[in-house]
Each structure stands twice: as structure tokens, then as C-alpha cells.
Symmetry: D2
Subunit: 342 residues, 4 copies
């Protein structure tokens, strides 16, 4: 049994981690901590756990996690930064769900997160935990930087096509994303008040969302392309969980949809959580909510030589906690999908 | 033109007051104030007003409202208490949407609101602003205590039957209410986060909601009954605005539904905002949302000799801002429904 | 491995049955049938199953299910009636999710369902499948009549107290229930259109819902009481799944809340899916959605000597498919919760 | 008073027409008709009208509307086609909310609507009723083809920039639209069931939605451009009313955002229902719902030389019934906004 601790157990991502790991057949939860004033039961925070997962949750203290061999960090960026260093020094494995170790280039981090990075040396040891593209590296790493919720669904949708010589890189790739409110975290702010979110949709952080750099970096790394001309516009919509990405890719060579679909099917042949659909129509967040799956649909617009890709993930699962556990499974040589909902 | 000020213009009730009064043909908005750090445009707070109602909104200051003859107070209880006194001293008319002057008995106030009342003398001058039962008093008053959102729909449903000698007062009257999230105010707290409210419903303040005493007091005053055996359980549900009350009334004498409906039709013959339906089924908050109306449906269960009443109001309009303007219309001898949505 | 067939696989309840049984470690799905024109893949009906559960689904034919030892019937009442008879004749076990075999008295069935019952003799062989009260009978039966969605949450809330000599039976027990839209089935009718249901709530079938008789019958059978004075008012609210019941029980002897809670804790000590909470406040459908659990909270109103119980279930799981599988587990001597979400 | 009839009064658009026209100070509703089996009260169809708008609604018959001088047609395309001809022959004015007379080219109509057009001659007499661009033509016409819901918000967002020589026409203009469920009409189909729409979003009719041709035609007509390279992807999202369009326009000459905003402000200086915002962020359907307004926000992405426009309208008002009344006001020389919500 793998002894794990979850730091940040009282957020929405923390809640999903607790639930998945509690029922995981190869895991024992050793401790839960969070930014709270005093010890409580996690089932007092989340009544859905009452009588099922009645573990205590404590304010963070190094002592509490000392017996864990693997730490899940579900805390804000900046907070993870130092904790990761400590845990690695203590010879623990770490899966960090924050952005602190996702970027290869420290300058990118400091520009997009507006914060000095204290341990740039560790960046090179961190593996970007997108299992469908990095299984081998994940297996051999002690530090997984778990991808952001937007990048997960966007990269899974874009990567299989990017290295093919059919994308027109001097035209714009446009990513129009729609996320549910849980992406903004478990907290009380006016902007997240039910009356503000319900029956509404709006764009935010137009081309200035910090996940852009993560997307660009991974595409460039995995496809050896130099990517410019990317537009990313996220929207917050009136649903609780899930992200739908509508992606408009300009093609340089007109290739048949069948051929393109083949790239995807081939690439994801071993990836049980990624499903390829015949059309981009009707890909729906409802169909992936509460699962670790990513649905991807492909359509072509011949008049404009465009590939239109729609992808959907549950932001809290494949976009966060589920993917983290998928990474753990790989690190420990377990079945990749163990404990996860298909 | 009536010159008015709105204190507390940045809440949900304040927003409705601003909108209604701006388009009211007999009103001129003189000033808007709110608990804010510095002056702003009300259209910056509510983008829906942009280019339509671009008035400035200021931190409260006595000077700002000095030219207004009528003040709408949409601030928390306790805050209203002193302001009302000031405005009355300055010979202004006041419509107070807080609870501070709704109760006849200062002891009730202090018990239910857990706060000392500084001006118990003024209580007797205040008129409880339920137009369908107090038109004459409202007309002659300078201080209207605007009813709470729950009491409005509940009293309109119960009052016509209470003074009839057919209700069994030694059995329990049960009021099961369902309110939308806007009733909790325009603010950021975890409990109002979209992810907590959406796709959910739950009871709160079971028989300890402060509106109970307001309901009891009005029933006792208007029907000359002594009322005990009232159970009131509010629920918060996943809609933005509206309250649905399902009320179970034990009958002592079995009277036909037709006869009972007659009491209601007769009582509300002159009240254009109250509509009586043939059955308690299908009374829906959707049908009263964004209007100043109250829908009331009546059904009888013969086996248990019970009258089942369902009433619906928009909590921000008939339950707050709309009713406040209805009261203003009466105070000034205008058509009762002027400027209000039927 | 238990070989099962699901009749009615394309409804919401059918979908949940397929999902649970596919992942159940002791079950092999042998066939899926539904009222469809021609064979299809169940993953074409439910894209969430794509690549995971790609079984074919066929129009019903007796031949198709001949190799199954256990049949789940998720079809409308009236349709089940004859199929159950056939399957029992063929020596199969049956779990019927319709109402056809739930009532002991054929007259009650014909009155409430307005339909002649063709096999009244079978009624006495059917066991009402509420595991928390009928484990032994379920174990020994070949025909389980799976309880309705409303009765499940209501009976679990009421039964522990009913046989205690503290309920005042000559006063009214009032049940005010709120159900999500999935209770009305997977179909297209104007009343279920998103625009009609969203941001709305309304009462329907006031004291004429067919589940009343099922509730009365079970209470009378299990508590040996004669029950009159029951009022049941269901509401349809704007959420997808879940039922919240607010139940007002008149007490004859004032007993402490602690004492009452003890009855419940004792009764459900062995029942891992029923959780008892300290208060009726904050019992929320969100906390039981997507699980097989029932949450029950208890509050007392001393002034009116009333017990206020709030219970919550997921109507598609504990109120239908989950409970059906729980019954199957018991019939086959498996762990009662195998394959079910806690 | 203008005597009007509404054909198709029982749809969502019909309902809005009835409401607006009933309260319009210069209109008298002469008759309501719909595709119904027998005469009823419109307030039986829409309980929100009970006691307020209790007009009868009849199956369509030519006699019923004979005294009306203006006819609003809120019926499906194909049905309008013949009725318009009849009414024009009878010397009535017509505002047709269907698509039958929106297109200049009969071939376009037959291709996109897959239906033969019976009266191509009338097409040239019809004026496309987008008041902000066609006031003069509307004033002098007897037949207004009221724009579709998507085209309204998209054209208002695009037209001011298109004739400026700064848009790169050989690159793709991408329109990613999100509509609420009411756009699909007041009807019962599985796809519109609350359980399918709630907490969901998905793309449909990718680049094959019939509104594309309407958008292209108007841009070409009003800007004298030849437009290719347009991609239009509508999504259906979980809100009742409203459309948000996110539009990505490639710029050929980099012009400052201030300069671009000026084009819009200048163009809409006389148009009280169109509001221009400083940024495309935070344009929200909630802010235009239940009004006749269109909100437009503008942002620039310098790296890709793109203008990002977000526009929002209420699909039932500015996108249908509200705009129809705005057109009526212009036809009759009334204040353009009379009877409409700002």
C-alpha cells in the first residue's frame, strides 16, 4: 500500500483526491492537511463523506506527513514552491497540482505568474504529467507537475496533429474554451455567487490567461515547432464542472478527415481515457463529467481549410485530481486506470 | 416629480429599486449611496445599466440626500435603525426595507434580531407595508416598514382565511418555503458559491428564521387570533429569484373549495398584483419572476381536512423593491401599480 | 459471474443499471434491450459509454434474454406486469423497478394505477426491496419489487420512528418532497423542456401521487399501525437528480432528540448506505447525488411537539438502479454494497 | 392605436410579442392565433398572463385577422411564406419573424432551407429589419423580414468594422456562439429535456447553420465586400435566454483599439439599444437578458493582429420579438424604443 498525504484537502480538487484515493485499492491515506485554523474531520467540511471518510484534517505541519512516501499538493502556486523542495529533500515523491513546476523556463514562470521562482534548478527534474504523452518520464520521476485544467483538454486535442506537416503555422490557431465554476476554486467571492454565474456566460482573461504559456511550451516541446499565432479565450459558464474547448486549426495541406482521425486513433490506441469521435458536434461536457476521460471530436471545414476540434474533460478529474492519480499509478507501475472512473 | 434617494443601491434589492425608480414616470432619483469606499458609477457596479442609468453612487453622507423628500433604505437591519430616526427628524418620508421597524413589540425585535432597539417609540409610527391589507394606513404614514420576502408571500396566502372561523388553531399550520439564492444578498460567501447552490436544495434555520415573528404578528393583528402551532421551514434552492411557499392549513369546519376561493377573490378584488388560481398545483415561481405579482393556488385534501395553499412571489420585487414602490405609489396617491410590472 | 439482462436500458434508470452492472465484479451483462426500432450500440444512445461500454442494445425479444439468470426490468408499469410472469415461469430471478408488484393489495393497485392487474397471485411472492428493512426476505425471493424513488427516502426517514409509541397518529404527518427532473424520465415533453424547468419549482399531483399508497402500505406493514392523516405533496425543482423530503411528524410524547436519534442509529447500525445527521438543517441532495446513500437529519420543534425529518437520496440510484443492485447483492449473498458508490 | 395580430402566439417568441404589445401605448392587440386545436385563453397557455392578459387565442383563420393593419408572424419558415403573400395582397403590413423573406437570393434560400420559394418576387420588397443599419428602408416598407437571433448580435458586432479597410479578408473570421435553450423553441424533444441541457454545453451544426448565409449576405450588402473565410460554430449552453458571440477578426492594418472603438461609438451614436464596452471581457448575457439591448465589447490581441469582439443579446428580444417591435415603431414613425426595455 502506498502511504500518501494530501496537502490542501479542503478545496474542490482536494475533495476529489480524498475520494479517489480513499477507495483506491493500493493506497492508504496517511494524512490530510489544509489551510485551516484547527483540526477537524474532513467529513465536517464535506458532509458527503460523513460515515464513509471520517479522517481528520489538520493544519499543515511537516511532522504530520513524515510517514508518507507520496505527497499530493493541491495548494495555490507559490505555496507549492517551497513545500515541493522540502518533500524532495526528505526523499518523498511529489505530485504537485499547482503551476509551480510546470514550466521549463523560469523566465516564463516569473512573467506569467508575476512571482520569483526560488528553485529554478528543480524545474528540470519535474515531469509534466500528461500521461498520454509522457508515460516513460512519469514512471522515472519523483516530481510530477500535474497539468492545468485547460491545458489538459487542449493539449490532448492538439498534440496529435501538431507534428504532422499539415498545420499552417503562420495562421492563427484559435482556442475558445468554456469552463464551469469549480475551476475558480472553493471559495466565496461575489463573482462566484450563484446569482452572478447562473444563466450566464462571459469571457475573461482574453489572451492573458496563465495557462497559455503551458500550452505553447508543451506543443513546442513535443512537436518541435515554434508556435506563435495562438489565441486563447476562456469563458466561465453556468455549470459546475467540466471544460469544453472549441479549437480552430488552419490546415496547410488539405487532408481527409479520415486520415486525420487516424492520427488520433493511432496516438491514443493505448490510452483508455481518451475517446475519439466522428464529429466535433455533440461532444458534451455532460458525457465526461465525473470521469477521468477526455472526449475529442473532429470536423473539417473545407471552404476555409480548417480543422475544428472540440474536446471535453472534467476539470476536477482529468483536469486535476484524476490525472494526478493516473500519474501516481504510472509512477508505481500500477494499471494506469486503477481507481479511476472510465 | 418625487425626489428620492436610495441608500444601499449596490445590493440586489438596491439594483431593482434603481431600475424601477429610474423608469417611474413620477420619480426623479436624486442620489444613490452605498457602503463603498469611493464614488463610482452605478453602471460600473451593474453593467446592465451602462448607457442607460449612469448615475453616480456615493458613500453615504447626510448631505447627499438632503434634497430628497423620500428615502428608500435597502441596508441591513441595525443600520437602518439610526438612519430612519435621522430622516424622520429631517421631515423626510422613509420606506425602510430592513426589519428594524416591522415589529410592534420591541421585545420581539430584541429576541429575534439579538440587538437592542434604540428607538422603540418610533415603532408605533411605522406602518407594515403590505398594501393589500393596509392601504389606508400606508397612505397616511411617513414611515413604511416594508415586509420581508418570506412574510409577503405567506401573509398574502394566509390572511384571507385566518379570520374565517374555519381554521383549526390547535393543530399545526406548516409552511414549507423554497427561496432562490438572491434572498441571501449580493455577496461572496462559500455557501453562495455556484458550485454549492447549483443542483441542490436544503433546509436552513428550521423554526428559527427571524421572519416567523413577523408572520405571527401580522396574522394576530389582522385576524385577532392568538396564533401558536406554526412551523416554518425555509429551503434554499437552485434558482436565482423567487419564493414558493407550500402551506398546510388544518380546517375545523369542512368548507368547499369554491367557498374558500371566494374569500380570496373577494379580498383581492381590488388588488391587481394578487392572482388566485383554481389549484395549488402548478403555481410556479417562473410565472411571477421579474414581476410584482403574487400567485396563489388553493387545493383541499378532504381526508385530512386540510387546505393546501401554494403562493409564489419574486423575492426581489413583490418581496422587496417592487412592494416598496407600490407603497410609495400609495403614499403619494398615485396609481398603485405605476411603474411596476404586472 | 451472474449473467443478467436489462430490459429498458435506454432510460435514465437503465443507463445507471448498465453502468453499475458493467463495472460490478460479480456480474456479466448478457443482453440489453429497449423499446427501440432496431438494434444499436448502447454507446450511441449514451455517448458517455463510447469506448467503454459498447454493448449492443436490441428490441426486446424473449430469445435474447434466454441465457440470463437475473432480469432487471426498467420499463413502465403495465409493461412489467406480463414480462415478470414470463420470466418467473422460465425460472429466472427478477428485479422489477416498476410499480407492478409493489403493492400487497390488488385493489390498491387497480385504484392508484387505473389498470387491471393480470397476475394478482404473484403479488404475494414479491418482496418489497427495501434492504434496510427486508434483508432476509430479499435473500430468499425470486421477485423483488424495487421501491419507488419517493418512497425510498420517505420510508427510510419514517420507519424507525413509526413503531415507537411516540407519534400522534390522529394528527397529520406532512411530507413535502422536492424532486429533480430525471424522475420524470428520459423523454421529450414540453413540461420537461429546460426553459420550463430551469429556475423554477412547483407542486404537482397534490395528495394524488401514486407513491402515497406504497408509503402507507409499508408503514402499516412494518409498524403494525393504521395510518391515516398523511399528506404528500411532491414538487419538481430545477436540478437533475435527487430527492429531498421534508417531513413533519407530530409527537404524542415529548421525547428528547438524543433518544430519537438513538432509534435511528440503532436501526441503521448495519446499514452502510444510511447516514444519520445531528440536525435536519443542511441535509443536501448534492451530498448524496451519484451515490447509493440516504442522508437523514433530525430536528425537534418543542413548541409544536414536532419531529422534523429531512432525508435525501439520489432518485436514480438509492431511489432506483443502485437499490436494485443492492437487492441483487443480497439475493446472491454478496457484500451488500458491492459495486455501489458510498 | 395600431391594430395588430400575432400569428404563432404560443411559442416563446410569440409570448414575448404578446407581452410587449399588450403594454405598448400605441398598440391594440386585435387577435392572437396559433397552431392549436381549439380556441383557448392565452393565459391558460402562459399562466404568467393570468388576470393580466386574458385574451383568447384561436386556430388561424383569415377572418380573424381581417381587422388588423399589421401582422406579426412568429411561425416556422415555410409557413410564413404563403401567409405573407396573403397579407400583402390584403394591403396589410407584415413583420415576419421567420427566415422566409430574409435572403436576397432565392437560390440561397432554396439551398440553405431545402425548400422551394413560392414567391421570389416578393423577396426584393422585403427589408431586412436590422434597425441600426436600415432605419430608412424599414420606415418605407410594408414587409419586414426580422433578422435571426444569431445574425442580430453578430452583425451588430461586425458591421461597423467591415467596411473599414483594416480587416484581412483572406484570413478566417471565426464566430464562436453560445445560445440558450429557448432558441430551439417551445417544444418537447429529448434534446431539450432539462436533464440533457443542464450543466452542459456542446457545439452543433458546425458551419452548416442556416444563419450563416444571412450573416454573409448582410455583410456583403452593407460593406460591399466579398466575404469568404467565415467559420460559424454555434453551441447550446445551459441557460434559458441569451446569445453570446465571441468573434475573432484578423486585422490587416494594426489600428489602435481606441480608433476601432470610435467606429463603433460613432456608428451607434443614435442607437440607444447598442452599448459599446471598453473590453471584450465581462460582456455577459445576464446583462442583456430581458432587455432589447446588445452589448458589444472590444479587445485587441497585438501578437496575432486580431480584434476580438464579444457581443450579447437576448435571443427572444433583440434577437426576435423586441427587434420586431422596434421595427414596428420605426414603420409607424414612433419613438424607436417605445414599449421596449432598455
Amino acid at each position: 500500500m502506498i502511504k500518501v498525504s494530501i496537502i490542501g484537502a479542503t478545496g474542490y480538487t482536494g475533495r476529489e483526491l480524498v475520494r479517489i484515493l480513499h477507495f483506491h485499492p493500493e493506497v492508504k491515506i496517511d494524512s490530510l492537511t489544509a489551510k485551516i485554523d484547527e483540526e477537524c474531520l474532513i467529513s465536517d467540511v464535506f458532509p458527503s463523506f460523513k460515515g464513509v471518510i471520517d479522517f481528520k484534517c489538520s493544519p499543515f505541519d511537516k511532522e504530520i506527513v513524515k510517514n508518507s512516501e507520496l505527497i499530493f499538493l493541491a495548494v495555490p502556486h507559490g505555496v507549492s514552491m517551497k513545500l515541493v523542495k522540502q518533500f524532495l529533500d526528505d526523499k518523498k515523491k511529489v505530485i504537485d497540482l499547482s503551476a509551480d513546476y510546470r514550466l521549463n523556463d523560469v523566465n516564463d514562470y516569473e512573467k506569467w505568474y508575476n512571482m520569483k521562482h526560488l528553485y529554478p534548478d528543480i524545474l528540470k527534474d519535474a515531469v509534466y504529467g500528461l500521461p498520454e504523452f509522457k508515460r516513460q518520464e512519469i514512471k522515472n520521476s519523483n516530481l510530477i507537475a500535474n497539468p492545468g485544467c485547460f491545458p489538459t483538454g487542449i493539449l490532448l486535442a492538439l498534440l496529435p496533429i501538431m507534428s504532422q506537416d499539415i498545420v499552417s503555422l503562420n495562421k492563427r490557431i484559435i482556442i475558445d474554451s468554456k469552463t464551469g465554476a469549480s475551476g475558480a476554486g472553493r471559495r466565496g467571492t461575489l463573482g462566484l455567487n450563484f446569482c452572478e454565474v447562473d444563466n450566464n456566460i462571459k469571457a475573461y482573461k482574453i489572451n492573458r490567461h496563465q495557462h497559455i504559456i503551458e500550452i505553447i511550451q508543451q506543443i513546442e516541446e513535443l512537436s518541435s515547432l515554434y508556435l506563435k499565432n495562438l489565441i486563447f479565450v476562456p469563458h466561465i459558464a453556468s455549470f459546475e464542472r467540466g471544460i469544453l474547448n472549441t479549437i480552430y486549426v488552419p490546415l496547410s495541406n488539405m487532408v481527409s478527415l479520415d486520415k486525420i482521425r487516424e492520427y488520433y486513433l493511432k496516438h491514443y490506441a493505448r490510452s483508455e481515457f481518451v475517446k475519439i469521435f466522428d464529429s466535433a458536434e455533440n461532444i458534451a461536457i455532460k458525457d465526461v463529467a465525473n470521469t477521468n476521460k477526455c472526449h475529442i471530436g473532429l470536423s473539417i471545414d473545407e471552404e476555409t481549410s480548417s480543422l475544428i476540434i472540440v474536446s471535453a474533460v472534467d476539470n476536477l478529474l482529468k483536469g486535476a485530481a484524476g490525472q494526478a492519480v493516473q500519474n501516481m499509478n504510472i509512477m508505481y507501475g500500477l494499471d494506469e486506470g486503477l481507481g479511476l472512473v472510465r
